[in-house]
Amino acid sequence: MTTTERAVGSDVRRIDGPDKVRGRVPYAYEHELGAQSVFVAIVQSPVARGRVTSIDASAAEAVPGVLAVLTHENAPRLGDVAEEILVLQSPVVQYAGEPVAVVVAETSEVARDAVGRVRVDYESADPDVVLSVDRDDLYPPEQLMAGFETDSVIGDVDAALAEAPVTVDVVYETPNQHNNPIEMHATVARWDGDVLRMWDANQGPHNLVPVITEAFGITEDQLHITSPYVGGAFGSKAYTHVHQLLAGMAAKVTGRTVKLELTRQQMFSLVGHRTPTIQRLRLGARPDGTLTAISHEVVEHTSQNAEFAEQTATATRLMYSAPARRTTHRLAKLDVPAPTIMRAPGEAPGMYALESAMDELAAELGMDPVELRLRNEPDRDPERDVPWSTRNLVACLTQGAERFGWAGRDHRPGVREDGRWLVGTGVAAATYPTRRRPSQARIEAVAGKPYVVSIDASDIGTGAWTTLTQIAADALGVPMDQVRLRIGDSRLPQASGAGGSTGITSWGPAIMAAAQELHDRFGGQVPADGVTVTGSSGPGDEAEQLSSHAFGAHFAEVRVDRDTGEVRVPRMTGVFAVGRVINTVTARSQLLGGMTMGLSMALHEESVLDERRGHYANHDLAEYHIAANADVGEVDIAWVDEVDDAHNPLGAKGIGEIGIVGSAAAIGNAYWHATGRRVRDLPITPDKWFR
């Protein structure tokens, strides 16, 4: 179509911006304001491993305004999912913070008061929450998240390592981390007859449908979830968690509209976290920097009730050439809440370790770390042995080096001072898979009226409201104001959730297919009595025949206060190869937000498990720090010219996650360059300077 270039690729402003700055868009909890709602408060187990031996709810039930107290003894029985999501179906307790009772009351104040009056006795055993490589119960999961193989082995890695003239053998660790979107998880639920109506904060209503229908034994038609605006998610809102089921139960039992908003503290146990990892990296190389062996062995945790196997080392399978290569993943099943996906699951912790180890190898070789990466650039996917659809890591590294002013860097560590500040720079590469998932879209056309484009896509802050409108406008050959987009509703055509950076590549082509259908059937002329067309899109042959990934390069300057160990990052540069950029404003936002979360991961984020009690000790924003305004220095972002037509008709790649991948490594590497010391366990807090 000739008009394709008009909106796509421009700097169109967010169409939801004006309403958001006025506080006028409704988030989940803000629906049904007029309803006579009732409120839920949760009794959480202080015990991480054990069972409820008795519950006395009489005092709570006696509080005026309390409508029901649900426990494992009286809660509605749910379908199979209840094994994976522990939701008042059994007296067994499998993690600290597990809900053991809920109070439903006329006001949130009454619910909260009554919660304190529910008496629960437990039988408990010492929790087992400490991850280590020496555990004798580590096991290989059947497969990893997103269907990746648990292990990959090519060649004789141990022999290659033994023969390599230069090697590094290092262990990197990343801590438990929590997603912490600023909007807390919230659900409003009501049963309209046998239809469960929900307004919920999630990453795509259709994502929740299988679990919720299974739990309540209803059909898809009997579930209607609305979620047009979501206040951030970063993975924790991708799947169904216990609170949505509790809200559905409470609504069923009371016959009322139920409002349930988790507290920030509850989010630390009820909506998932990123597993800690212990990663052993062994690299073998020739003196000229050519890699001969790569070994990346990962140990991470999962929970008793649901297995979650983060794909930490999968990026290592494709980053660099080497004849001998191995990646492995082993899990410890601990008495912890179920981990979940968090922005760039797998790549964020895994590339932190790989890219730190590459820096150590460069130092060992006395080589420019940019050069080391360039020297090991593979021309095909080294493990799958298929061609790249596009791979522009080299361009990212060279352009990034240019923008950052890398040339002439003195590679020696610990030799630059500026007053009391030790100064250094670091580099790391980034990658994230490009995928598409099945999605459908519908376009309703009525002559003289704007097109109505419907798809159950989700905007969790990514800009989908805007970018999908742009894509639709171009596909239909009309200005953006001739498109009315509808997203975030399970009654709209099914689409994949907002996750895995697959939104644009999945939803965009579905909308384009519907527009194409309109064009093919009516030649762009809307019939007088209107028409509705649909289109769909999904993974094609490219998934098998090509290896498709976004790439990027991070550069960072770090300053470390010699006297206090304080770490500052005055500037960062990120250059990315992310296919066609749909909207330069929202793209920059996504990359900047990702890089900042990487900075946050490098310097701050860590959820501390209390080893005796098994709960997260620092479970609020006062103690779990995320990067604040003053932490972020100058950030320079650019992208290379790239259109990945071989992967999808938009030529786009996902953009939501790659920003976080590798940025912590660039900062860690710069820390070493500044100080001459490696901190191999995130976060790099000031006290680590003194150990």
């Binding site: 402003r13 206090t564 979360m597 701050h604 604040a628 305004n629």
Partner: protein
């Protein structure tokens, strides 16, 4: 007494029957004004930031951003509040909203109304004037610290900074700017079941004598956290933040006196440099949002071992004026704390003012070690005051926070310093590292705290500030 009410975005709404523990945020949201958001309920994220018309120091009224999640709504009886919904109209966004929208300052949007309010408060700062840009000031005079109490998980903050630095001066006919030129609402006495704002100090003391279990609330930045997170439900709350007797600030040759209920933001403005050590502390105390509410009385009232005011005031050899129905007494701050969150203050007694004797030490320094640069509480705080005559230390006072169950004076170090050649303090720094009994916790190890004690003195000696 008329029944309580609050003016929100120009509309006056009654507050009948609202319980004392209901925060302004919960009340707004339950009233359908859901623009202000909750992200933490403990003053950390600023999603709940709203504008309140407060008496100003340079203009009769100053739009002041506050954490609505911490303030009891009844404490706003008779006041004027503006939320993000009250700024701008659909066709005509407020300048702050416009810049935020066009520069990508809002992604998921959940933090946005709070940022908008914090930014609007700085937009309206009467003495904001264009100047040479610095990393933390725009060419338009915008002080980025105004946003230090707002967290965003999406944007990476730069687009928000871009928006802030793009703001011009308010238009001549800007209604909220105009509002700053007229007097702020007075503090209305309030008396409803469970919540009272007495008109003056005698009335407050009488109330406290009558209700020994009453909970005193000033800026509510601690109290609000107790209510939200620990479920505190006081039988009687007594608001003292506007008591005129607790609002004096005076500087004489003998003493500097600061009213216990003056907010920290006002302390900085009204002292105007008279206490250099406080000027070192205040920018590092929480965030602007918190400082707009927090008071010295509240900081000392909790008896917290990690409160930041105590080390500074100890180093200034300050004393507290305590007042009750029985009368006033003055207690040296060094004698005030008796144990973990305990003090000599009796029930029914208020801190009326803080007194700092003159002359203050000739050289002062303050170091706060925290995990995050701003918006974080201290792992360790060290405040130092010394007099140096002919290169020799003649007097030293050092206050420490975070190293014992109470804030303490570092007496051994003070002794080691007197007679030492300044700034050669290595020996005294070693003594300092041994003061107190720092603990291991997830904020910092004991060893790190000790190392920081030593470093603080070295750092302060290297970068002393003449008082």
């Amino acid at each position: 007494m008329p029944s309580p009410s609050l003016t929100v975005n120009g509309r006056t709404v009654p507050l009948d029957g609202v319980p004392a523990h209901t925060t302004a945020l919960d009340w707004l949201r339950e009233s359908g004004l859901v623009g202000a958001k909750e992200g933490c309920a403990e003053g950390e994220c600023g999603a709940c930031s709203v504008l309140v018309a407060r008496p100003g120091t340079t203009t009769p009224t100053r739009w002041t951003a506050l954490n609505a999640c911490l303030v009891p709504v009844l404490a706003l009886d008779g006041q004027e509040v503006v939320t993000a919904e009250g700024l701008g109209t659909p066709d005509d966004l407020h300048p702050v909203q416009h810049e935020m929208a066009v520069r990508g300052g809002s992604q998921c949007g959940y933090c946005t109304p709070g940022f908008v309010c914090s930014m609007a408060a700085e937009f309206y700062r009467p003495d904001r004037a264009p100047g040479e840009p610095t990393p933390e000031h725009g060419a338009n005079g915008f002080d980025l610290h105004a946003l230090s109490g707002n967290l965003c998980r999406c944007t990476g903050y730069r687009p928000i900074r871009d928006a802030a630095y793009a703001l011009a001066a308010p238009d001549a006919d800007d209604a909220l700017a105009g509002r700053q030129t007229r007097p702020a609402p007075a503090a209305t006495p309030t008396d409803v079941p469970g919540f009272a704002r007495p008109a003056d100090l005698p009335a407050a003391l009488a109330l406290l004598a009558e209700h020994p279990d009453a909970v005193v609330v000033a800026g509510s930045t601690d109290h609000g956290v107790e209510v939200n997170l620990r479920g505190l439900r006081a039988r009687q709350v007594v608001a003292i933040d506007r008591l005129p007797e607790l609002h004096g600030v005076s500087v004489t040759d003998e003493v500097v006196e600061i009213g216990a209920a003056v907010t920290l933001s006002e302390v900085a403005a009204r002292l105007d440099g008279a206490v250099p050590l406080l000027d070192l502390l205040l920018p590092q105390f929480a965030s602007v949002l918190i400082r707009n509410g927090a008071t010295l009385g509240g900081n000392l009232g909790t008896g917290s071992p990690i409160g930041d005011a105590a080390p500074v005031l100890l180093a200034l050899d300050a004393s507290l004026v305590l007042v009750s129905a029985a009368g006033e007494r003055e207690v040296a701050l060094a004698d005030y704390f008796t144990g973990y969150r305990r003090s000599v203050r009796t029930a029914g007694e208020l801190i009326r003012a803080v007194r700092i004797p003159q002359p203050q030490p000739g050289l002062v320094g303050f170091t706060k070690i925290a995990k995050r640069r701003f918006d974080d509480i201290s792992s360790v705080a060290v405040a130092v005051g010394v007099d140096v005559v002919d290169g020799e230390v003649t007097r030293a006072t050092i206050g420490l926070g975070g190293v014992a169950a109470t804030p303490i004076r570092a007496r051994a170090t003070e002794e080691a310093l007197v007679g030492a050649r300044w700034p050669d303090v290595a020996a005294a720094a070693d003594v300092l590292a041994g003061e107190g009994t720092p603990l291991d916790d997830h904020r910092a190890s004991a060893a790190y705290r000790r190392a920081m004690l030593r470093q603080s003195l070295l750092k302060i000696a290297a970068a002393e500030v003449p008082a």
